[in-house]
């Protein structure tokens, strides 16, 4: 590598095959206690339903399992290792105390159907978290049931639909800005709505004129992300809300970017009727390689009758319980009550911060994004100069002249010891570099990031080929995704040698 970086070096790293390649008959990592009841004859009990063989399941010992997954883990990048500037993903610090409290016996081993009398701890946690989130969003009520943001969107739109139906007709369309995340249109479709695209204006914001032109009695709701996926706050949000309401429509807010607002602005105060939160973004629950998440949906009073069942209520005797008797409810969106373990973590995060901590967190998140914008302006093309909140979006326009695309720059960033930024969207920025540092990055780490991005820009000028071939420091080089999709190999087979 031309540029020496202070951020990373190469170091010896263990190889490891597939677990099946380590298996051999007679090894095992399990042992059961002696049976304290008479043993049984499975064949006799199950007859033709008895299973005789478990096929290719592995047989390995405990130390091999420890080594297998420990070695695999060293092939991953993670927040614990460094900055993870994925735009829109809010990769912030995941506090360890959250993991400890979520594993406390009574919480980890509580059965969802155990009597309410012995579930007061879990119910109290759900109630307290709900109260905090309602206050933070400025809404009137909330459901914690959705398992992630996308399911939050689903739940929200189901309530929108139920609301309109209660008024006579479900309406036909959902308006969605072209800058929106893919889950927004995908969700609208799942709820049986047609998706109508809404063009952004020159500042990357909703074109209010266009909106008023497109808004009519066919439109059930506008799905707006605020700040939007450019990291820009929709300044005319009040006009937008009024416009929607004047035609009987509702304003849905995708709350994925709440990390820019907590403690500073409340969606409930600027006209939002329904919104989801991503506890695995704004509220620090770990991403875990892709999940689990949690996507609570906060609403205004008008939507309360339609909340999924059950809801947590305070009973006459002061204890907490579940209310299932909700005739107008949209029904359940999943079994039980949601990803409870994430509620515990999100509440622990909220208690660790308090009002002052939450506000400071938001301020630092916005400060960091603006610091990076300042550090890279000019070096990378900034398609929208509108003020930046929690994330900033550049484009690869300047580097494209040398044939280098955003994904190439992203891969080269790996050699500099960073995880790439988001490259996949927003679609309104061709070749987007979507960068969200979050509040968890120190000035030191961000200076290294800016230094790396500037160095890469230089490399693009001097030696684009090297950037196109990146990464150069990883145990595997760029992988052939086309081949993977053309002839999919989706499982290991005994025949297959490595």
């Amino acid at each position: 590598m031309k540029h020496v970086t202070q951020k990373a070096t190469r170091h010896v790293n263990q190889n490891e095959g597939l677990i099946f390649e380590k298996s051999s008959p007679g090894k095992g990592a399990w042992r059961l206690p002696p049976l304290d009841v008479p043993d049984v004859d499975a064949a006799e009990l199950l007859g033709s339903s008895e299973r005789k063989d478990l096929g290719q399941l592995p047989e390995v010992s405990e130390i091999e399992i420890i080594r297998h997954f420990t070695r695999l883990s060293t092939w991953n990048y993670a927040i614990d290792l460094g900055m993870y500037p994925l735009g829109s993903c809010t990769m912030k610090y995941n506090p360890r105390v959250n993991e400890v409290v979520s594993r406390l016996e009574g919480l980890a081993n509580g059965h969802p159907y155990q009597p309410e009398k012995i579930s007061q701890g879990a119910l109290r946690i759900m109630k307290t978290l709900s109260d905090c989130l309602i206050e933070i969003t400025g809404m009137d009520d909330i459901t914690l049931q959705p398992a992630a943001g996308a399911q939050g969107e689903l739940t929200g739109l189901l309530m929108v639909r139920a609301y309109h139906e209660s008024k006579g007709a479900p309406r036909k369309k959902i308006l969605i800005p072209d800058s929106a995340h893919g889950t927004n249109p995908a969700t609208a479709a799942m709820v049986g709505y047609a998706v109508e695209n809404l063009k952004s204006n020159a500042n990357g914001m909703v074109d209010v004129a266009a909106l008023s032109a497109q808004m009519n009695e066919q439109v059930a709701a506008l799905m707006l992300t605020n700040p939007n996926t450019l990291g820009v706050f929709e300044q005319e949000i009040h006009k937008i809300a009024d416009l929607m309401h004047s035609k009987g429509g509702l304003l849905y807010m995708d709350g994925a970017n709440m990390n820019a607002l907590v403690g500073k602005v409340r969606p409930g105060d600027f006209g939002v009727d329904v919104m989801h939160l991503n506890l695995h973004k704004t509220f620090s629950t770990p991403h875990g390689g892709g999940g689990p998440g949690s996507g609570p949906v906060a609403i205004k009073k008008i939507l309360r009758p339609f909340l999924p069942t059950p809801i947590v209520v305070t009973k006459s005797d002061g204890t907490l319980g579940f209310d299932y008797d909700r005739p107008q409810s949209v029904g359940r969106v999943r079994a039980f009550y949601g990803n409870f373990g994430m509620f515990v973590r999100a509440l622990a995060y909220t208690l660790a911060n308090g009002p002052d901590g939450l506000r400071q967190t938001t301020e630092d998140a916005v400060l960091n994004a603006n610091y990076i914008r300042k550090g890279l302006e000019g070096v990378y093309d900034l398609p929208y100069s509108t003020p930046t909140m929690h994330e900033v979006v550049f484009s690869d326009k300047l580097q494209l002249k040398k044939g280098v695309k955003t994904m190439d720059i992203a891969k080269r960033l790996i050699d500099y010891g960073f995880h790439p930024y988001t490259t996949a969207f927003p679609l309104i920025v061709p070749g987007a570099l979507m960068i969200e540092p979050t509040e968890s990055e120190s000035k030191e780490e961000m200076d290294l990031f800016i230094e790396a991005m500037r160095a890469i820009a230089e490399e693009v000028e001097q030696d684009p080929e090297m950037v196109l071939q990146a990464p150069h420091s990883t145990r595997v080089s760029r992988l052939d995704e086309t081949a993977a999709a053309r002839k999919p190999v989706l499982r290991w087979k005994p025949s297959q040698s490595h």
Partner: protein, 460 residues
């Protein structure tokens, strides 16, 4: 705030670099009337020790230390400690979805292994990782069947988990998918004759569960025949994954929608769990959720990547097979490690212990209460009918630190005073005997009260 890596000086120098006076300038763009000028009304900042104490209190209020006979879609199995030791490694815990393969091979290879093991266990050809839970997996599987067949209506067995059915109803309703429900025979199994009647030309699929909500193992082969004859797809939901250790998987199914919580995932008051969809290779492009595929790098070295993304929302938007984005990856890793620990032999032995405990319990309870659905094989759950309302028996049980079976009246009023009991390898003989004692006592007292009233009759 202890999570924030900045000193006042850092903030100052950054503001200077940006060229603003104060951090408020960065929020000036937001209309003033919407800016919050007060503190949020949430509890004050707490010390770590206070947080731990507060949740300890909640934990103590939450049924810590009871012997439980609850199953019904959430099962209490032993979790080898290796699971948490490994998933707690920051490299797994704090990584994002493995879009950047070169620095995500750990997550990717483990998912590939997960997909392989799920295929082996279910007898299917492809499996995703993952769906939110068993209920949404079932609903998404049904949508998938509709896409595969181009048909609209769905037939559901009443012996499918009631909350799974509710979720499907929610998902299907706004898609305008007509649902019909078919009942169960005295054996607890699907009423095949009713099934045959229910399937129409427009039936996209039939959804059953095996072992079903009552713990009864369905005759999947027979059901599959009926379903396939009418050109519909068979979707089988599996809520108790441990059953796969000793119960033949529903190989005749077209799609299997599974809840893998039993494989090393804490009960956690209902979540997070791990839904999985497994199916045949030919259906893969209509499958929702993430798939990892094997490929090679530029030097021909084996590696793994997320693949067939053209099914997903971030590429296809409103035409995607599902809106799912964030899934249950870390929970899938728990499941993966659990399957690896027990493996080919251990998983069968584990399932066998579940079977043995359940046989012992069902026999003992049957001596006092009425054991329903005894005509068909079952795995680790059974239904007992008592004279007294099971709620009353259970509340006495709490005094003995016993959480009794799930009263079924709410879901199945026709079964009256029936309750659903579950035994796993964690259930001790002594707790079974105690619980049986409670039922026996209840029956005795009921009988005597009957006799008394009888006597009074005579008396007149």
């Amino acid at each position: 705030m202890r999570y924030l890596p900045k000193s006042p000086a850092d903030r100052e120098s950054m503001l200077k670099a940006i060229g603003v006076r104060s951090v408020d300038d960065l929020f000036a763009f937001i209309p003033a009337e919407y800016r919050l000028e007060r503190d949020l009304k949430v509890p004050r900042q707490m010390a770590e020790s206070e947080i731990v104490d507060w949740f300890r209190e909640r934990s103590r209020e939450n049924g810590d230390g009871y012997a439980s006979f609850l199953g019904a879609g959430a099962y209490s199995h032993y979790r080898p400690v290796v699971i948490d030791a490994l998933i707690s490694r920051g490299e797994f815990l704090t990584a994002y979805t493995p879009y950047q393969a070169e620095v995500s091979q750990g997550t990717l290879q483990s998912i590939f292994e997960f997909q392989t093991m799920i295929c082996e266990l279910t007898g299917m050809e492809v499996a995703n990782a993952s769906m939110y839970d068993g209920s949404t997996a079932a609903a998404e599987a049904v949508m998938m069947a509709a896409r595969l067949t181009g048909r609209r209506s769905v037939v559901i067995a009443r012996s499918v988990h009631p909350e799974y059915r509710e979720v499907l109803a929610t998902y299907a309703f706004h898609q305008g998918m007509p649902l019909s429900t078919i009942g169960f025979a005295d054996t607890g199994r699907v009423d095949i004759r009713a099934l045959e009647k229910a399937i129409t030309e427009d039936t996209a699929c039939v959804l059953i569960q095996s072992p079903n909500f009552f713990g009864t193992i369905e005759d999947v082969a027979a059901i599959a025949d009926v379903v396939h004859k009418r050109g519909a797809k068979l979707v089988v939901s599996i809520a108790e994954a441990v059953s796969l250790g000793i119960v033949e998987p529903p190989r005749e199914a077209d799609i299997i929608a599974m809840e893998a919580q039993s494989f090393g995932v804490p009960l956690g008051f209902g979540g997070p769990y791990c839904g999985v969809i497994a199916t045949r290779e030919q259906f893969v492009r209509q499958m929702p959720g993430r798939l990892v595929g094997q490929t090679t790098d530029r030097n021909g070295k084996r590696g793994f990547v997320l693949t067939l993304a053209t099914r997903e929302q971030h590429i296809r938007r409103e035409k995607a097979t599902s809106n799912i984005c964030t899934n249950q990856a870390l929970v899938a890793l728990m499941v993966n490690i659990f399957m690896t620990i027990y493996g080919k032999i251990g998983l069968r032995e584990l399932a066998k212990q579940n079977l043995a405990k359940t046989v012992y319990a069902a026999k003992s309870f049957g001596k006092h209460g009425k054991l329903l659905f005894s005509g068909a094989p079952r795995f680790n759950e059974f239904v007992i009918q008592t004279t007294e309302d099971p709620k009353a028996i259970n509340s006495r049980g709490l005094g003995h630190k016993i959480v009794g079976g799930l009263p079924l009246k709410k879901f199945y009023p026709e079964l009256r005073n029936a309750s659903l009991w579950c035994c796993t390898e964690m259930t001790t003989r002594s707790s079974i005997d105690t619980a049986v004692g409670l039922v026996a006592e209840s029956e005795r007292s009921q009988r005597t009260t009957d006799e008394e009233s009888a006597v009074q009759e005579v008396g007149r």
